[in-house]
């Protein structure tokens, strides 16, 4: 089996330092929506300068290089044990090269492992066997500031008057955006899972964030709710960094899951503007990056 450690290291470098084009475009478009001379506009201008600089220097866009979340889809015959070892080796090397901050802290003994490896679950790696002959590795880096403002609601919610329907979902998500204020590094991107259990809700609300901005859920009801939530979240006026302004959320992505009859969870994963996600594809001898 081929050793992909160097190629994965390159994936990590790109993810940490090179913001995807679809995100950068949205941020650039947002500048024009903020008043000249406003703190909100200044924040977006600084953000874009930083995006260019990080790309030039191969340095982290954000010092919080987050939880590394890997999704590996491999054809039959690959060893997931070896792939795991390669991902971990690449991550430790990326940390030594300052593409990544040492971010794995033992929660019981308060000790930072120093190399981004901690137990079996840091980094988070999801493996899935797929048809065909291409192997893909997707990586998302999700910082702690935005992770901390993620929220899960169990409907009905009396305080919000939110029942067990899409109208209730809408109320819960808007409440989460209001609670987050600027603390998740707005403008943000919302990943929403409806249903599931507490665990699957959070996992799927992050998974949906791998999709391109502007890509709508194929279910027209959910597609409509995605657009409405982005629009209404922006009406809140929280703005970039919570300075007040017109761009609070740049997109919303919703996924519907099955649930138990007794449970109706709405799970919101808030992604900061530093929406770092990249993909590599291994096709025969070739390795392509998005």
């Amino acid at each position: 089996m081929r050793d992909l450690t160097q190629e994965i290291l390159e994936l990590i470098r790109r993810t940490s330092s090179d913001l995807p084009a679809d995100v950068e475009e949205r941020l650039r478009a947002a500048i024009e929506k903020e008043a000249p001379g406003s703190a909100a506009r200044g924040a977006l201008e600084t953000i874009l300068k930083n995006v260019e600089l990080s790309r030039q220097n191969s340095s982290p866009i954000c010092q919080d290089t987050g939880t590394p979340i890997f999704y590996v889809r491999h054809p039959e015959g690959w060893s997931t044990r070896k792939l795991r070892e390669q991902i971990r080796a690449a991550l430790a090397e990326a940390t030594a090269r300052s593409y990544m901050r040492p971010n794995a802290v033992d929660a019981v003994y308060d000790k930072n492992s120093g190399n981004n490896l901690g137990g079996d679950d840091f980094p988070y790696i999801h493996f899935e066997e797929v048809e065909g002959d291409e192997l893909t590795i997707e990586l998302m880096l999700k910082g702690g500031g935005c992770e901390n403002v993620g929220a899960q609601y169990s409907l009905p919610d009396n305080r919000l008057g939110a029942g067990r329907d899409l109208e209730g979902v809408r109320k819960a998500v808007l409440d989460a955006v209001h609670k987050a204020q600027g603390q998740g590094c707005a403008p943000g991107i919302l990943g929403v899972a409806i249903g599931g259990d507490r665990g699957s809700g959070y996992i799927k609300s992050k998974e949906v964030l791998f999709e391109k901005l502007g890509q709508r859920n194929p279910d027209p009801k959910l597609a409509e709710l995605e657009e409405r939530l982005t629009r209404e979240a922006n009406q809140l006026g929280i703005g970039p960094m919570g300075f007040g302004g017109n761009t609070t959320v740049i997109d919303t992505k919703i996924t519907g899951l099955h649930r138990l009859p007794a449970s109706y969870f709405v799970t919101v994963s808030y992604m900061c503007w530093a929406y770092r996600r990249r993909k590599m594809t291994v096709k025969g001898e070739e390795v392509l990056y998005d």
């Binding site: 600084t46 930083n50 340095s59 010092q63 702690g144 500031g145 008057g161 209001h178 603390q183 007040g244």
Partner: protein
């Protein structure tokens, strides 16, 4: 843009108003969750006896913090093996986690500025008026850009907290911030939260 030199006098602090962009110059420290907890438990509430080099570090921090600035930041630092430290990426972390500690720390050390992101709450705002000090907002996520304002890493304390949580002493030049909580009881964060709360109430009515 207005430049402010560290250490900062009370007079300058009182002249700063919410919304004002400022460039900071001078020596400051990074301190976040572990450092704030350590300072409060060991030297302010004294619920934990000093251990190891705690007292030496305390004595070293006192003159830096008198009139000084605390930066809520967990940087990416290169040169760890050779101790030839350089800040590679150094944006602000979310400040609200230090809400239980901040005002007490500022009062204890007579510190004049906090830099972070997301703003802080009522206890800190009250402290801003009493001590006095101000809250400077840096742009969250703009880590490479902000690291360029860090001219020099002068030293590090409590390295055992881990690189993000250690207390780094840094010299900065033209460090860009905006005042979002001032010494007159004004908080941009309070205003935005209240206004967006009114809109939320309408949207979910």
């Amino acid at each position: 843009m207005r430049s402010v030199n560290i250490p900062i006098s009370d007079e300058v602090i009182r002249s700063l108003k919410v919304g004002e962009p400022v460039n900071l110059n001078g020596v400051m420290i990074t301190a976040r969750d572990a450092a704030h907890k350590w300072m409060v438990e060991t030297f302010i509430k004294k619920t934990r006896p000093p251990q190891g080099d705690d007292l030496d570090v305390y004595e070293a921090l006192k003159p830096i913090l008198n009139g000084g600035v605390i930066y809520h930041c967990g940087p990416v630092v290169s040169g760890l093996a050779t101790k030839d430290y350089k800040f590679v990426a150094a944006g602000p972390t979310t400040s609200i986690r230090e809400e239980p500690y901040q005002a007490d720390v500022m009062r204890h050390f007579n510190a004049k500025g906090v830099i972070g992101k997301g703003g802080m709450g009522a206890k800190t705002l009250k402290g801003c008026q009493e001590v006095p000090f101000v809250y400077f907002h840096a742009i969250g996520g703009a880590a490479t850009y902000i690291a360029q304002s860090v001219e020099k890493v002068l030293g590090v304390y409590k390295y055992e907290f881990g690189v993000p949580e250690a207390i780094w002493v840094i010299q900065v030049r033209d460090f860009p911030v905006v005042v979002t909580m001032d010494a007159h009881g004004q908080s941009l964060h309070e205003v935005v939260e209240k206004d967006s709360g009114k809109v939320l109430a309408e949207l979910i009515a």
